[in-house]
Every structure is written in structure tokens, then in C-alpha cells.
């Protein structure tokens, strides 16, 4: 209907006014409108369609008579994009009407959908820019004088391209209305608010929720059939779940779940499944939809049966999705589906796919079956599996059956153990199948079963050992690879004797296959070698003579370093060989390759050496090999061009392992480091600095203090470094040097070094902050006297900012440094700074400050801090008072027994806090009481503790979880300090109180007491008089001799 443009723009006004009667007969069209179809006919057509779908609530002006149209058009000039612009129009058609049809008819998405969201977005964007001028725009652009609006020639037929024709043909009248409505809103590509609860949505979503767009006000609901009302309701709920805020989502989800039965499965799944297949579905949205499906599956239970097939066809592809979470969620749905629909239904529905000619379908079906097996238990699926694996009809069915077993093993891991024997039995015959593919998959399935069963269950594999063994002699290439894989996984299950025998057998084939050029085969061979060599039964002698030479000849080649997985496997396998024959030997074999031309290869060599030496040590590396090794490492280290830390770590490991033996090489290493510290590349400088921190300990052990002092000076000079990563490393290196040579011997002297560090504390980079604060803290701890007091105060102020850091390590280091500084320069100034900081807004900052205060109190003895701290409590400010209380809490926690001397001092303050109106006061005071009482157990402070208990106890009816928790903990602490009897006396009053609320909490306290001091309560229980037939007195306790 885009073709029939009977709307009239103001360009036509004058003419219309002149001859209004002719409007219906020969309507004047918009000048820009190229479509010459007569309007009356077209409108009639419209009416027809509207009548066809009377339920469509969106009424269009097309419903009215042509006359009406005219007036309407005059009132609101239209953007008649639809008709005027072939291109834009076409795209619109391609985007919208098809979907709307799809949503209603089939859950699957048609071909057009295959555009990904970005493409759609771009396309939309381009069309938006290229859309033709509207009348209004033309009006504003062109002057009204001197221009005449021409009518198109009588014989003019607009050019209609084939693409446009198709687009026109494919559109349905109903969706045409939709387009008009869309146009009225004029989407400028800005994400406008959706109509439902003001939720925003992606343009791609609009096609799904088309029906509820623009009907937010509920206009015309009465015109809809109940079915449609239901449909729209579900849509609204889904939209809320998908795009809404968490509370909105929660409510919608609950609503949808509660009414799942009422809505019925068909209405629900017809809405949900198309959404699920949307290309623009994000992880989060998919997760929410999975949740929806889960919940409604649970509610609908066996009502879903007719929809199983439909659901599976949508969900199964996700089983092989690239996204891990997509796979997990697909599994979850299928598992719930099978629980709801039952095994019989699931097998019946998936059965046809088992021998599908499509490899992909069979693959997903096998995976789906594995999920069903894990949901309903393997035994229930066993008869079916047995039948499928033996299927005579087609090899594809057997293939799928065996694949199901493989997937079950992968999915369920060791849970297959109880059924291992029967699983192996039902697939065993596959090893001798005629079809090579079936043989391969059988071997792979056996490998998976063996892997899942490790280290148990060798006896279950007995029946397949023989065919496997024949197999590796008979087959080649892919088949052989699978068989080798199976054997590789079975050998670790065997006992020693068998393992060594079978290893020898398989090794011949394996060594033959070392030569292979096939990638998959290589991986399998490496894996099998690793597994064989790591079993106990294989003698080092055998490995050394038979395996090692061939292995190194074929695998330690440059090509292996190029593929990441090969690289990893090779390093692991070599490590396993080294475990067997000794590290020195293996290192000797590859050490020369450290000077290879290929950097990737050098890296692989280095990583292998790193692994070998870090696990096996450097004891069996001879002097000659040692020289070679250091030489090679230095070469490799200097030649490296990329940024990985492989070389660095390897270097560090080797130097550490060699210990003092490295001494002769240290000068060379230091020269290398010095040279590289000066390098242009930031990464090289960083690695050089990192290397210093790696080897500082060893350097010290070698007695090279002078060398270290020299390095210290050089690093000091580099403190002006501008790259934060490098600066962090340099600070780290300095720290490691200071750590080993001590404050007094350090060069540069501490009094020069520290002032240089103060400005660096301002750096916002985490690595710099962490290393700098560590270094400063270390100096404050060990060498505080080398620095002026004023400098330390300056650092204190810098440290306050550090308390805001995101990283906990930095905050902790900062807090500790406060303690060291306070110890060095006395607590007074530091405390003043910290107390001031209690007034800041940021909570984390205040919490850290309270911790710092407590630490200062701990290091400088509490009496230096308490007076000032308690004085601060007099400030009538919530944050400050709470901060003081919190500091006290931490303080008593840290000082423990020492607290006994301070209880009397703080009791009045705590009294006040425990009676405060503010709950946080009482909460914090409660936790102070807890720490205090736990610290002074058995030190004779019962008097004041009982006094405090009297203030704590009334908080028993507090409802806020934080406060009540703090209360309970305080009681727990007091129980320890005062003994359970006293607390029991308090508790007894409420255990049988008339009010349930009272009884609840009192019993809770009693239970707490009972669990922790059950036997100590025995003498304290009250004496209860006998009652009727019941003896409640415990006479034994009254015996007197």
C-alpha cells in the first residue's frame, strides 16, 4: 500500500480547495509521490485488509473515507516516506513485516535475520541518511516564489527495481500500517523510549514487541480477542524481564511463573522461542530468558510435551555455541526440559535426529542426549543407548549412539563409574565396525570414558583392550590417532606391570608416528607419550634410550613453537620426560636451542627449562652445562623483542636454583641489566628492573653487596621514570635491594632516598602505589631514624589519600605504615592527622582511618592514644563518634590482654554509646564490648563487664540485622568472660514470656549459650518444683553427706 499514495500535502492545498469535490475521483497526489495508482481503489483495498483483520487494534487513517483523509492530511502534514522512497521503503519492508509474521507463525527466523545486529544498525543508519526529502523539508528549503509544482506527466510510471518489487510483494497489508506508525514517530536513530513502562529497547527488539508498541495506554484493548490480550500480556512481561530494572524484572518473572499454567505453553513458547533465536541477544538477556524457561518448565511440567521438539530445535544449536555460558545454559534448559517432559517423550522427540544426514544435527543431538542422561540418570537411558549403538539400519545411528556415550563421559566425569562396565560393553563392538567413522568415534568415546574414570575401572576396559591393540597396528592416520588416544588414556589406569608392558608395545607405533606431519596426530602422540612416561611402570632407562632421542629429533623443532597448543603440550611432555630421566639430561639436550634464530622457539625452550628447573632443581646441572645455560639465557634475554614474561621468569628461576653457583656470572648479568635499564623500550627497562627483584636474594647470598649498592644507585637515578609500569618495577627492585642489604648499608642513603619517594606516593597508578608504599613502609619500619620528622609527617598526609585505594593490599600497607611512622616520631602528630580524617565523608576512608588509629594505639601503647581518642567522642558528629567507637573496637581487638588496664577508662564512654539513639552507635559499642571482653577473660574485670552487660542487654529486641548480630556477638564475648551462668540468669526471664517476639530472641540467646557451654550450664539451671506426675527437681544435686 505504499504504492497508493492518496495523502495530500500542502503543496496540493490550493488545488484541493478549488475543487474539493474531485478529491475522491481524481485525487491530487503529493508532488513528490511517484506512485500513480488511483487512490480510491487503493483505499478500498485497504479497507478490505482492515476488515480481514478486525482485531488489529491499530486504526489507521486509511480506515476512513477518502474525504476524511484529505482533511487529516491537511491538519498533519505527513512524512510520506513509505511511498515516496523506494529504497528506504524496501529496507523497512525487509526488516519489519517478515518478522511480525514470523513472530506469530514460526519460531524460526527467516533468511533476512541472518544479518547481524551491527549490520542491521549500519544499514538502518545509511537509509536514514539517504531517505528522501519530505514535503516539509522541501518547503523549508525551496523558496515559495518563483517555483511551480508540476504534476507528473500522465504516462509516468515510476522506476521500480526488481528488488523493490520483491520487497513490495513480500509485504502484507497489516504490516503496512505498522510502517506508517513507525514513520509518524520518525526514528532518528536515537534510542527512543519504548512504550512499555518507559523501557528502552534495541531497534532489533522492536520487531518482536511490535504489538505492544504504542499501546501502552491500553487503548482499544476491548477490541481484542482474549487470545490476543494474553499474547500481549506475555509480551509485556517478557519485555519487562528482558529490559527492565531488577525489581521490575523480578516481579514480571514471578507473575509469569505464577500464571504459566493459565497462559498455557503454546502462547508462552510462541513468544519466548523467537526471542531466543534473535541475533542481537546479549549474554545477560539470554540468561534471563533461560531463567524464564526454567521457571515455566517447572510450572508447566508435562504440559510442555507437545513443544519439546520446538524447544529443542531452538536450544540445541546453543549446545555447540562458542560461548561457554551459552552452552551451559542450553544444558540447563534441556536438563529441565527432560525432567518436565520425561524420558519417553524426550527420546521419542529426538529419535529422528539420530540418523540425520546432517553431521551438525547428530552432534547436537548426541550432546542433548548426554544432558538428558545426566538429568535422568544413565541407567534409564541405557536400554535406548544399547539399541541405538547396535542399530543395523544406518551407521549414522550407531555413530550418534557412541557419540552420546562419549558426551556422557565428558559431561559427567567420574559419575559414570558405576555404569562404566555396561557403557564400555555397549560401544565395544564399534571398534570393529565396518564404517571407519564409527571406529574412530568408538575409540574417542573409550578415551573419554577412561579419562573420566581415572584412576579406576581398568577391569571394565578389558573387553576393548584387544581390539584397540590390533587397531593400532592396522590403521593409519585419523583412525590410528583415535586409537592411540584411547590407549593413552587407558594406560594410566593399569597397574605397574601391565603399564610398562603395554607402553613398550604402543611405543613402537608411537615412535613411528613421531614423524607425522599431521597436527592432530602430533597432539595425540604428545599426550600419549606424556601419559605413558608418567606411569610408574616405565623405566627411566627405557625412556632414555628409546624415547628421548627420537622425541627430541622430531618434536623439538621450530615449527612446534608456532601453535600455542602444541607449544604447551610439548613443554608439558618434556617436563614429564625430565621427571623420568632427570632434569640435567633434558636441559642439556635443549640448552643450545636458547640461541636459536626463532624467538618463539627460544621462548619455548626457556619455558621448558624454567619448568624443569623449578620442579627438579639445578643440582644435576654440571659446570659445563651451567656455563652453557647462563650463556644461552643471557643471549635469549637480550635478544627478546616481545613483552612476554617467559624469559624473565625463566631467568629468575634458574638464578634462584643455582644459588651461590651463579657468582662467577653475576658481573655479566649486572652489566646486561644496567645496559637494559637504559633501553629505549619501556618494557625492556621494566623487565630489567623486575629481574633485579628476582635475583636480589641470590646476589646477596653470593656476597656481592658492592654490586648491589651500585645497582641501588642506578635505580635511584631512574626514579624519574615516566612509565608507571616501569616505575613500579624500579621501586620493587629498590625494595628488594633494601630488604637484603639493610638500611644502614643502603646506597643511596635512606635520608636521600625517602624524600625522593614522597612525591611518588602521589602517583595514581596502582602498581606504583603498592611498590612505593611497601618501600616506604619498610623504611619506616627499619630505618625511620634516618629521616627527619617533618618528612614523615609529610608522608602521613600522603598516606591518607592511599586509604582510598581500590586495592586492599595498598590500604593495608598504608595502615601499617601509619603504625611504623607513629612509632618512629611518636603518636601525637600522627593521631591528630588521623582523628581529623574521621570527619571525611567517604566511608572506606573512615574505616581505614579507624584501623590506622587502632594500629597506632597498638604500636605506641594505648595510653598515648586513648585520651585524644576519647576526647574526640565529645564532638557531636555522627561519623566522628562512630569512628571513635570503631577505633576502640579495633583497638581492643588488637591489644587483647592489655585491654584490662583500660576498661575502666572507656566504660563511661561505652555506657553513653550503648544508650545512644543511633543504632550504629549501639552496634559499634556492642562489637567493642565483644572484643574487650574476649581480651580480658580471666583477668578479673567481671565487675565492669557485668556493668556493660546491663547496657548491652536492652538491645536484645533490636530488629536491624547488623545491630542484632553485634548484640549476639557481644553476648557471646561476655559469656566467655563472665561465664555462662550470668548470661543464663539474664536469659531465663524471657524464655517463657507471654509474647512470642520476646521468646524468639531469648531462646536464640539460650541456644547460643547451650551450644557453646552445654555442660557448664548444668549446675546453673534453676530449681523447678515438681508438678503432678512430673519430677522436675534434680535431687542428686542436693545430696549432703
Amino acid at each position: 500500500m505504499e504504492v497508493d499514495k492518496n495523502q495530500v500535502s500542502e503543496w496540493d492545498d490550493s488545488e484541493l480547495k478549488k475543487k474539493p469535490s474531485t478529491v475522491s475521483a481524481t485525487p491530487r497526489r503529493n508532488r513528490w509521490d511517484e506512485t500513480p495508482v488511483s487512490s480510491s481503489g487503493a483505499t478500498g483495498g485497504f479497507k478490505g485488509t482492515v476488515a480481514d483483520t478486525p482485531n488489529n487494534k491499530r486504526k489507521s487513517r486509511w480506515d476512513e473515507t477518502p474525504l476524511n483523509v484529505t482533511s487529516q492530511t491537511q491538519a498533519t502534514p505527513m512524512y510520506n516516506l513509505g511511498g515516496a522512497t523506494p529504497k528506504y521503503d524496501g529496507s523497512q519492508v525487509a526488516m519489519t513485516p517478515n518478522y511480525s509474521g514470523l513472530v506469530k507463525q514460526t519460531p524460526m527466523i527467516g533468511g533476512q535475520m541472518m544479518l547481524d545486529p551491527q549490520q542491521l544498525q549500519i544499514q538502518r543508519d545509511i537509509e536514514e541518511r539517504n531517505k528522501p526529502w519530505t514535503d516539509e523539508e522541501l518547503n523549508s528549503l525551496l523558496p515559495s516564489d518563483g517555483y511551480e509544482i508540476l504534476t507528473p506527466p500522465a504516462g509516468y510510471v515510476p522506476l521500480v527495481t526488481p528488488a523493490r518489487k520483491m520487497a513490495l510483494a513480500s509485504q502484507t497489508p497489516v504490516s503496512g500500517f505498522f510502517i506508517q506508525d513507525e514513520n509518524r514517530k520518525q526514528d532518528y536513530g536515537i534510542d527512543t523510549q519504548g512504550p512499555v513502562d518507559g523501557l528502552s529497547m534495541k531497534p532489533e527488539d522492536k520487531v518482536y514487541f511490535e504489538k505492544i508498541l504504542g499501546s501502552g495506554d491500553g487503548e482499544g484493548e476491548e477490541n481484542l480477542s482474549p487470545e490476543e490480550i494474553k499474547e500481549r500480556r506475555i509480551m509485556k512481561l517478557l519485555l519487562r524481564i528482558k529490559n527492565g530494572t531488577p525489581p521490575m524484572r523480578k516481579q514480571a518473572l514471578r507473575h509469569l511463573t505464577d500464571r504459566a499454567k493459565e497462559f498455557g505453553p503454546s502462547a508462552l513458547f510462541n513468544q519466548i522461542l523467537p526471542l531466543f533465536t534473535s541475533q542481537s541477544l546479549e549474554d545477560q538477556e539470554r540468561h534471563l530468558l533461560v531463567k524464564v524457561i526454567d521457571r515455566i518448565l517447572y510450572k508447566l511440567d508435562d504440559l510442555v510435551r507437545p513443544y519439546v521438539r520446538k524447544i529443542l530445535s531452538v536450544i540445541e544449536p546453543y549446545l555447540i555455541d562458542q560461548n561457554y555460558y551459552a552452552r551451559i545454559e542450553a544444558r540447563e534448559i534441556i536438563s529441565n526440559l527432560s525432567k518436565a517432559a520425561g524420558l519417553a517423550c524426550m527420546t521419542a522427540k529426538m529419535r529422528p535426529d539420530i540418523d540425520s544426514p546432517e553431521e551438525d544435527i547428530r552432534n547436537t543431538t548426541a550432546r542433548a542426549f548426554a544432558v538428558v542422561a545426566s538429568a535422568l540418570g544413565i541407567p534409564s537411558l541405557m536400554p535406548f543407548l544399547k539399541a541405538v549403538c547396535k542399530s543395523k539400519k544406518s551407521w549414522a545411528a550407531r555413530h550418534t549412539g557412541i557419540k552420546i556415550v562419549q558426551q556422557i563421559a565428558i559431561l559427567m566425569g567420574c559419575a559414570i563409574l558405576p555404569h562404566l562396565k555396561s557403557l564400555v560393553e555397549i560401544i565395544g563392538h564399534g571398534l570393529e565396525d565396518k564404517e571407519p567413522k564409527v571406529k574412530t568415534i568408538t575409540a574417542l568415546a573409550i578415551a573419554a570414558l577412561a579419562e573420566a574414570a581415572t584412576p579406576y575401572g581398568i577391569e571394565s576396559f578389558d573387553p576393548v583392550l584387544k581390539p584397540l591393540w590390533y587397531g593400532i597396528r592396522l590403521y593409519k592416520e585419523k583412525g590410528l590417532a583415535a586409537f592411540l588416544k584411547a590407549i593413552g588414556f587407558i594406560i594410566p589406569l593399569m597397574d605397574e606391570g601391565h603399564a610398562s608392558y603395554y607402553t613398550e608395545q604402543v611405543m613402537l607405533t608411537l615412535i613411528n608416528e613421531f614423524k607425522t606431519s599431521e597436527d592432530e596426530m602430533k597432539k595425540i602422540v604428545l599426550k600419549v607419550v606424556k601419559q605413558c612416561v608418567s606411569t610408574n611402570g616405565v623405566k627411566p632407562q627405557y625412556v632414555r634410550e628409546k624415547i628421548v632421542p627420537e622425541f627430541f629429533k622430531h618434536f623439538w623443532v621450530r615449527r612446534m613453537a608456532l601453535d600455542k597448543r602444541n607449544y604447551k603440550l610439548l613443554v608439558e611432555t618434556t617436563m614429564e620426560l625430565a621427571n623420568s630421566v632427570g632434569g640435567g639430561e633434558i636441559v642439556a639436550l635443549i640448552v643450545d636451542d636458547l640461541k636459536d634464530e626463532s624467538e618463539a622457539y627460544r621462548k619455548m625452550v626457556m619455558e621448558a627449562i624454567d619448568k624443569i628447573i623449578s620442579t627438579l632443581g639445578a643440582a644435576d646441572i654440571g659446570p659445563r652445562l651451567e656455563d652453557q645455560l647462563i650463556d644461552g639465557i643471557l643471549y635469549a634475554f637480550q635478544e627478546q623483542s616481545d613483552e612476554s614474561s617467559v624469559m624473565l621468569n625463566g631467568f629468575g628461576t634458574v638464578v634462584l636454583a643455582m644459588g651461590t653457583r651463579i657468582k662467577p656470572h653475576l658481573t655479566t648479568i649486572t652489566t646486561c641489566i644496567k645496559w637494559r635499564l637504559n633501553n629505549k623500550s619501556a618494557k625492556v627497562r621494566q623487565q630489567a628492573a623486575d629481574l633485579i627483584s628476582h635475583i636480589a636474594v641470590v646476589m646477596h647470598a653470593c656476597g656481592e653487596e658492592q654490586l648491589m649498592s651500585h645497582l641501588g644507585l642506578i635505580l635511584y637515578e631512574y626514579l624519574g621514570e615516566e612509565y608507571p609500569e616501569v616505575l613500579g618495577s624500579i621501586l620493587g627492585a629498590l625494595k628488594s635491594i633494601v630488604n637484603v642489604i639493610g638500611m644502614t648499608k643502603m646506597t643511596p642513603p635512606i635520608k636521600d632516598l625517602l624524600p625522593r619517594l614522597t612525591p611518588i606516593l602521589k602517583n595514581r597508578h596502582e602498581k606504583v602505589q603498592e611498590n612505593c608504599i611497601d618501600l616506604v613502609g619498610r623504611i619506616a619500619d627499619r630505618g625511620a631514624d634516618f629521616v627527619l620528622e617533618r618528612e614523615w609527617m609529610r608522608i602521613c598526609f600522603e598516606l591518607l589519600d592511599m586509604l582510598k585505594a581500590h586495592k586492599k593490599g595498598i590500604r593495608r600497607a598504608a595502615v601499617n605504615t601509619f603504625g611504623y611512622i607513629a612509632k618512629a616520631i611518636g603518636p601525637h602528630d600522627v593521631l591528630a592527622t588521623l582523628l581529623n580524617n574521621l570527619k571525611v565523608q567517604d566511608r572506606q576512608n573512615r574505616v581505614c582511618t579507624t584501623v590506622a588509629i587502632a594500629i597506632v594505639a597498638e604500636t605506641c601503647a594505648p595510653y598515648t592514644v586513648l585520651p585524644g581518642l576519647m576526647n574526640e567522642y565529645r564532638i557531636p558528629e555522627l561519623n566522628v563518634q562512630n569512628g571513635v567507637l570503631k577505633s576502640l573496637s579495633f583497638l581492643f581487638e588488637y591489644i587483647g590482654e592489655m585491654g584490662k588496664d583500660y576498661i575502666y577508662a572507656v566504660t563511661p564512654l561505652l555506657e553513653d554509646a550503648l544508650m545512644d539513639r543511633d543504632a550504629v552507635h549501639r552496634q559499634t559499642a556492642c562489637s567493642t564490648v565483644k572484643h574487650m571482653s574476649l581480651g580480658v577473660v580471666g583477668l578479673g574485670c567481671e565487675d565492669s563487664l557485668v556493668h556493660l552487660l546491663n547496657f548491652v542487654w536492652p538491645n536484645i529486641f533490636e530488629t536491624s540485622p547488623h545491630v542484632i548480630n553485634a548484640f549476639l556477638e557481644a553476648i557471646e564475648g561476655l559469656r566467655v568472660a563472665l561465664g555462662p551462668t550470668i548470661i543464663l540468669q539474664y536469659t531465663l526471664q524471657g524464655l517463657f514470656h507471654p509474647s512470642r517476639k520476646v521468646r524468639n530472641i531469648y531462646w536464640k540467646v539460650f541456644n547460643m549459650l547451650y551450644i557453646s557451654s552445654q555442660s557448664s550450664l548444668i549446675p546453673s539451671y534453676p530449681k523447678v518444683l515438681n508438678e503432678g506426675p512430673n519430677t522436675y527437681q534434680r535431687y542428686e544435686l542436693e545430696y549432703i553427706i
Binding site: 547451650y1010 551450644i1011 552445654q1014 523447678v1024 512430673n1030
Partner: protein
Amino acid sequence: MSERESLNSQLEHLQMRYVGTGHADTTKYEWLSNQHRDTIASYIGHPSFVSLFAIAENESTGRIKYNLLNKMINPCGPPPKVDSTTKKDEDEDMD
């Protein structure tokens, strides 16, 4: 918040695993029975208690232990008859 609440409920769950713990609806009889059982268990666990009772009751320690063990079954005598209607009324009064 919810974390704290769940912590509390966990605590309650833990408490429920101990037989002797109670709750708002624990009756006097139940509570005292548990007390008696705990007490008897404690007696038997402390040989000096048993000796004391043996002298006081002029019985052998073995007999004392035997009697105590027997007492564990219904330490306070038979449970009181529960009159459901009155109990309910009481509850309503209480709240």
C-alpha cells in the same frame, strides 16, 4: 542485609541440630527433660559424682550408673497430656 539474615538463619539451622536447643514453642516439660538428660549425662561422665551418689544412696557405683541410664528415658516422668484447645487459646493470648 539478606546476607546477614541468611547468616542468622544458618545459625538457627546449626542450633536446630542440637537436641537440647529450644524455640519459642518449647514447653516446660521438654525443656526440663533436656536439662535432666544433660545433667544425667554429666553425672555419668564425672566418676566423682557417681561415687558421691553411691555413698549417699548406699548403692554400688554400677547400680547408680544403671539407674541413671534408665532415668534417661523419661527423666521427668510421663509427658503431660496436651489439651489442644487450651494450648491454642494460650498461644493466642500470648501474642
